[in-house]
């Protein structure tokens, strides 16, 4: 089905199911229970999961397949966002023109940067992409303020032209009248579930993006890209010019990033310059490696992991901790809270840093490898052959050779 092998079709269907059921799966705890703090099923975070999932999937097409480590992909994310907000300002709040243009503009931008940067490889390539992205960021933050509105971020003002805005058009981002920020809520027992238009819009696009990346992974083009990663020199000796392939991969992943950036602005009509900063580029690198570079699901997992920490752990303050451990005797309660305190709330960075280290040290293949290990453990007990973890093994990253000669 869909031009995929039956194994891949099953995989895709699982992904589709998981994506569509996210609003329910991410609300495992009833409202009002003290664990509700860990629920992630609210629109903004679910949208972020889908959007950064797209971003990481796209990045993985470049990094996971060709091994080229770009440190400047945030530039395309920012360009996508700015394009969409500008379309709001000029045309109106329908997201479609902006998103289409965001993909086109980021493709052109990626073509330009890729064409120059891909003349070098290895860390020289990384630094070139980093340099372009940092230049974009610095200029967007300061000198280009008339276009980007600088630090404040680009937003829509009431005196903007918005020539396609009708009398009854929604006054926030929408797709032909479907307003992105509207949700349907329903509750079952103590559980409250929020089905958000914007999330489902992102989810559908994310599924399409995932499907496309699956096809690329399985195509001869994908094979070629993997060959570049394995041994570019040998490829060149066989008479193949690898540059067009890497450039194509670079542009495709740039388009994914532009799409993700566009979606960020489609969910929330504001584009800030810090989306282009090197830390944002670094974040997608971390997401991909953390999840498992070169695997299909890994980058999405990594994206979810980091966004979850940023949004959930940063909100646990001392008051919440005291509420959790209120059942303990006073002295003990204070002790436990004091012990946990450095790792949550304003210390969420620390927890994230420790987890980065633990994952890399113990799970060289990223979170996907962790999943596979658990699956293997599970399988060996049940002695079943086709466990859920086995499907990705053929595209696990191979350890790169030690390069300092």
């Amino acid at each position: 089905m869909f031009g995929l092998s039956s194994k891949d079709t099953r995989f895709l269907l699982i992904v589709v199911f998981l994506t569509l059921a996210t609003p329910i799966l991410l609300q495992p705890f009833p409202e009002g229970s003290s664990l509700a703090q860990f629920n992630a099923g609210y629109p903004d975070l679910m949208q972020k999961f889908a959007i950064f999932g797209i971003f990481a999937i796209g990045f993985n097409i470049l990094f996971g397949l060709t091994g080229y480590l770009s440190f400047g992909h945030a530039a395309f994310l920012g360009v996508g966002s700015y394009t969409v907000v500008w379309m709001y300002k000029l045309l109106g709040y329908n997201v479609l023109p902006g998103l289409v243009l965001a993909v086109i503009v980021s493709a052109l931008f990626a073509l330009l940067i890729g064409f120059i940067s891909l003349r070098r490889s290895g860390i020289y390539f990384s630094i070139l992409t980093l340099a372009f992205a940092q230049m974009s960021y610095n200029l967007a933050y300061s000198v280009l303020t008339p276009i980007t509105n600088g630090e404040t971020g680009l937003q829509v003002y009431s005196n903007d032209p918005q020539i396609l805005m009708g009398e009854n058009s929604p006054t926030s981002p929408h797709l032909f009248g479907i307003v992105m920020r509207e949700s349907t809520q329903f509750e079952v027992g103590g559980w409250l579930f929020t089905l958000n238009n914007g999330y489902y819009f992102c989810a559908v696009i994310a599924i399409l993006a995932f499907y496309l990346s699956l096809r690329i992974f399985r195509s001869p083009f994908g094979m070629m890209l993997r060959a570049i990663k394995t041994n570019q020199t040998r490829m060149n000796y066989t008479g193949l010019n690898s540059r067009p392939y890497t450039l194509a991969a670079f542009v495709i992943s740039g388009m994914y990033a532009g799409l993700a950036g566009g979606l960020l602005a489609a969910m929330d009509p504001l584009a800030g310059a810090e989306r282009m900063q090197w830390t944002a580029s670094g974040e997608v690198v971390l997401m991909t490696i953390l999840g498992g570079a070169g695997t299909l699901m890994g980058p999405v997992l990594g994206a979810g992991f980091i966004k979850y920490f940023e949004n959930i752990f940063s909100k646990i303050n001392d008051g919440v901790l005291h509420a959790w451990f209120a059942f303990l005797p006073d002295g003990l309660e204070d002790l436990v809270v004091a012990l946990i305190h450095p790792f949550v709330g304003k210390g969420w960075h620390l927890t994230l840093g420790i987890l980065f280290m633990l994952v890399v040290i113990f799970l060289p293949g990223g979170l996907v490898e962790g999943g596979q290990r658990i699956a293997r453990l599970f399988r060996s007990k049940k002695t079943k052959t086709a466990g859920p973890g086995g499907r990705n093994r053929d595209h696990q990253p191979k350890p790169a050779p030690h390069v300092a000669e």
Partner: protein, 449 residues
């Protein structure tokens, strides 16, 4: 803090139709409510969105302390602080409209994107009716427009750019803190008295929107004194080393250096300017002087001895002697062992002002609250008689001109109050060109319904 639930929906559970899936279309909220996040139980939740990581984390921490204190005072815990001196007596220490106040916190990271994500999570997940806090103008403007779209009230924390209540003003957003224009208006007479009218100023300006508005304000006020502006050089944010911008200053014929920097940039540029020996030099037969238009206690602490004798302005300072300030400093100092900073003060006051407005309006509906805040005159909050102007939601009150103390005895009195500039002197028309002119408008109040 021993509240057992921190989400609004804890209360939904009790009233929920058990087992029945009831689907409701919503925009940020369930349509059963009259407005976004209408509190239905016996509690109401505030959102405190402050920088907890990044360069302004310390300031965010101090804001959070003050906000926590404000919630205690509203709920009747502790000595009541400024509630005792506040002229409006609508709050009686039993919560607001019979509901106890709870709060959730978020991390803005001093980035617009992260701040909006944190704010959205508070609105969507925790059901807050008001967001307060922040330590930079970019974040304030971004969160303010989000609250406008969502239909809740935004009570800005530390934001000094003219834009927040200028071209970016919003009907659901309110600012207690002063702004760049007021800094200029308050500083100019003091500078004239200290340095005369025959001065040549050299500006170093942080290269982003806040820097631009402050530089514009200060330049227009100093030029009105008769000062000349030799040059205005934009410096990259977070440059760290400003030596290549400072070195040419002496040779430019300028005799005053104005540093339109904040936070770490201010600490570094001031330290380095002093290191270059600028303040020991004589130019045009006058002593070379440095001015830092916007001061904060934490940054003054960071700059150490270098701020001695340097003029700047502040929204408020704990050394003021009015009853409101004394009550607040007493109650903050008892709890945390240090005097509050001016960003802590503004967040504390904003939280009380919001609570008071709700109590006076008799409703949490943001439009009713906004109406109660608009044109509200009050006193006893440490800044003298204050007006929340209806046209742009900016507070008008006295502004402090500060100077680095010559002989500080503790880390907390590194700044001293030079003058309390009366409110009349810093007022301006709502359509002032620096504030977006006639085009700027608040728009319609949004309750999310």
């Amino acid at each position: 803090m021993t509240n057992s639930t921190f989400t609004r929906r804890g209360v939904l559970k009790t009233g929920a139709v058990t087992g029945a899936g009831l689907a409701l279309p919503t925009i940020f909220t369930s349509s059963a409510s009259a407005f976004t996040n209408e509190p239905t139980g016996n509690t109401v939740t505030f959102g405190f969105n402050v920088p907890q990581t990044g360069p302004y984390a310390e300031e965010g921490l101090d804001e959070l302390r003050a906000q926590e204190l404000a919630v205690e005072h509203i709920n009747g815990i502790g000595d009541g602080g400024m509630l005792n001196t506040f002229t409006s007596k609508a709050l009686d220490g039993t919560g607001i409209l019979g509901k106890k106040v709870q709060f959730v916190t978020g991390d803005t990271q001093t980035k617009s994107d992260a701040a909006r994500a944190a704010a959205k999570s508070m609105i969507e997940k925790d059901g807050v009716v008001m967001i307060n806090g922040g330590s930079s103008s970019g974040v304030a403007v971004a969160v303010q427009s989000l609250c406008q779209e969502a239909g809740i009230i935004f009570m800005a924390g530390l934001t000094h750019s003219n834009d927040t209540t200028g071209k970016d003003r919003k009907a659901n957003g309110f600012r207690h803190f002063f702004n760049a224009y007021m800094s200029g208006a308050a500083l100019a007479p003091v500078l004239e008295k200290a340095y005369g009218t025959e001065r040549r100023a050299y500006h170093l300006t942080a290269d982003y929107t806040w820097g631009y508005t402050q530089q514009e304000s200060i330049q227009s006020f100093t030029e009105a004194l008769g000062w000349q502006t030799v040059n205005n050089v934009l410096t990259p944010v977070g440059a760290g080393d400003f030596s290549s911008y400072i070195a040419p200053v002496l040779n430019s014929g300028a005799d005053v250096l104005i540093l339109n920097h904040y936070g770490g940039d201010m600490v570094n540029s001031l330290t380095q300017a002093v290191q270059f020996g600028l303040r020991d030099k004589q130019v045009n037969g006058k002593n070379f002087e440095i001015v830092v238009p916007l001061y904060s206690e934490l940054m003054a602490e960071g700059a150490g001895e270098n701020i001695k004798g340097v003029f700047g302005s502040m929204n408020w300072n704990w050394q003021l002697q009015d009853a409101g300030t004394k009550a607040f400093v007493q109650s903050f100092g008892q709890k945390y062992g240090r005097p509050p900073s001016n960003s802590a003060h503004t967040c504390y006051v904003q939280t009380l002002l919001y609570a008071d407005a709700v109590a006076r309006a008799g409703s949490f509906n943001p439009c009713a609250v906004a109406e109660a805040l608009e044109g509200f005159e009050f006193d006893g909050m440490g800044n003298g008689p204050t007006l929340y102007r209806a046209e742009d939601h900016q507070c008008f009150k006295d502004v402090l001109v500060m100077k680095g103390a010559e002989n500080p005895t503790t880390p907390f009195d590194t700044l001293e109050v030079v003058e309390i500039t009366p409110r009349a002197q810093v007022e301006y028309a709502p359509n002032h060109p620096m504030f977006g002119g006639d085009e700027a408008s608040l728009g319609q109040c949004n309750s999310g319904a």
